[in-house]
């Protein structure tokens, strides 16, 4: 499933979507960036509440398909701008990580 279709199905709020037609597969949930670096897989939807600028570099280097900020977390404008520049898809959602993961599972991701 593409990022655009997944985001529409979950009613995610798009912040930066430079690679909306990229496919997503699997989900990783985590806030400790080194854990994410070590465990997230290429193509994963990464759900986190961590919103500092370093999430963009972590997403880029692990090659996840997007970042979803859960629980209503909204990042600073420079994070959104950097995500756009670096080709990282970034969304936010009101739901907690568990609920998002359950819904992603329902989509077959």
């Amino acid at each position: 499933m593409t990022i655009n279709k997944m985001a529409e199905a979950l009613s995610l709020r798009p912040l930066a979507v430079p690679e909306g037609e990229r496919a997503c597969s699997g989900v990783y949930i985590g806030d400790l960036l080194s854990w994410v670096m070590g465990r997230a897989q290429s193509g994963n939807v990464w759900i986190t509440i961590m919103s500092n600028i370093n999430i963009v570099a972590v997403a880029s280097l692990t090659d996840v398909s997007c970042i979803v900020l859960a629980e209503g977390v909204v990042p600073e404008e420079d994070v959104v701008r950097t995500a756009e520049q670096k080709g990282i898809n970034l969304f936010c959602a009101k739901e907690p990580a568990y609920e998002l993961a359950v819904r992603l599972n329902g989509l077959g991701i």
């Binding site: 960036l33 080194s34 070590g38 500092n52 370093n54 570099a57 280097l61 692990t62």
Partner: protein, 140 residues
């Protein structure tokens, strides 16, 4: 090991928010050279962890990446406080990072273990008070 491309970086120890610039540049260069995606992922993750460590603990350092016919070699060195007990530092979860760094999502004691996990060879030389020198290789 005949060398084909050499990349060199100064890792700025002052600006934590820009940490990762060297790794992202390496990733870009490897992609341009047509290196397989899984190798790029391994190299850039290992290098990013090293970069972050130099920023957190050593006030920055230097990084050199050699892209050779059969492997990619990452060499990181700094003049920081060094590692007193390397065996302990290699254990997942062991960390000496300050709380301010932990609040940013780093300092979970996964840096060195991730560097080992994502490379085929890793050598650490460190002397307390003098600095740390790390060489990692990922074979193609």
């Amino acid at each position: 090991m005949s060398e084909t491309v050499r990349l060199y970086f100064d890792v700025d120890g002052e600006d934590f928010t820009s940490a990762g610039q060297a790794s992202v540049q390496v990733k870009k260069s490897l992609r341009q050279l047509g290196i397989p995606p899984e190798i790029i992922r391994k190299v850039s993750i290992a290098m990013y962890e090293g970069e972050i460590n130099m920023v957190i603990h050593a006030g920055g350092g230097k990084a050199e990446v050699l892209i050779c016919e059969d492997c990619i070699e990452i060499h990181l060195w700094d003049s920081g406080p060094g590692i007193a007990n390397i065996e302990q530092a290699m254990q997942e979860g062991f960390s000496t990072a300050p709380d301010a760094i932990r609040s940013l999502g780093f300092g979970a004691g996964m840096g060195l273990p991730n560097m080992k996990r994502y490379t085929d060879e890793m050598k650490i030389e460190s002397e307390p008070g003098k600095g740390t020198d790390i060489t990692m290789r990922v074979y193609l």
